[in-house]
Symmetry: C2
């Protein structure tokens, strides 16, 4: 099972990088995780929000493979329990070699891309910083694999 995490912009805070590295390290025993970072769009300040989102989505699409299960982190998605999310990952893995999770920029995605994607995942009804979400999400992926493998993390941490 391979996980691709596509994100806009580098992670800017040192403590977030350390959190990400911590979970990437722990995840090694369960799966391969590739983090793919889209560089900031040039002249973003002179674009409308819709134009900026379009350019970001175009750049994201160049990183997707036709066999990827495309799973957008989006506020309109379902917010499953961790155990249900884990089971969903297991189910997807039967037919897909790779799940590509995509964390959008500050303004998220547009309807067209939401429709093209296989699924939408919401981590909460609350809005979290799109930088902090990277750590929250990797912890959730780690939790999912620990559940699927019957490891104690989910109940004890």
């Amino acid at each position: 099972m391979k996980i691709k995490l596509i994100q806009i912009q580098d992670t800017n805070e040192k403590y977030l990088k350390e959190g990400i590295n911590e979970y990437l390290k722990r995840l090694k025993k369960y799966c391969k995780v590739d983090i793919i970072t889209i560089k900031p769009i040039k002249n973003a300040k002179h674009l409308s929000i819709e134009e900026l989102k379009n350019k970001e989505i175009q750049a994201i699409k160049t990183k997707l493979d036709s066999r990827d299960y495309v799973y957008l982190l989006d506020e309109r998605g379902q917010n499953p329990k961790s155990i249900d999310f884990a089971q969903k990952i297991e189910k997807i893995s039967i037919n897909h070699p790779c799940i590509a999770f995509v964390i959008g920029g500050a303004y998220g995605f547009n309807d067209a891309f939401r429709k093209e994607a296989n699924d939408l995942l919401s981590l909460s009804k609350m809005t979290f910083s799109h930088q902090l979400i990277r750590v929250i999400f990797l912890e959730q992926i780690y939790r999912a694999f620990s559940i699927l493998n019957g490891d104690p993390y989910h109940n004890e941490d």
Copy 2:
């Protein structure tokens, strides 16, 4: 407005401490935040989960003031949108000088304490590590105050 954040055990990871300090620094312009840490219960390994929770709750109660609005972070709580959470904080502040948010230990709270509390807050249907939650929660408090003050953070970060 004063915010009390009561938690079980020190924060154990350096990167989480840095994240917490980052948001505490940013929050200074909006409110006073006190983090109160309950020391680990002695001989916890020899207690049942219920006994451990009872002891933790007793220790938490010694940190509460009768005028505090007691707001437990609990999976059975509501998961509001950030903007609704912000408005709730504003409303509470009319009658309470301090909101005491409580993050439980690995096993959470019991029904009796849930009933005694003023309110329950869920950050997600997903389970997050009770250590990572500290940063997620402080970011949410910062977001709430930025919303109430009309600052741009909520829409741009």
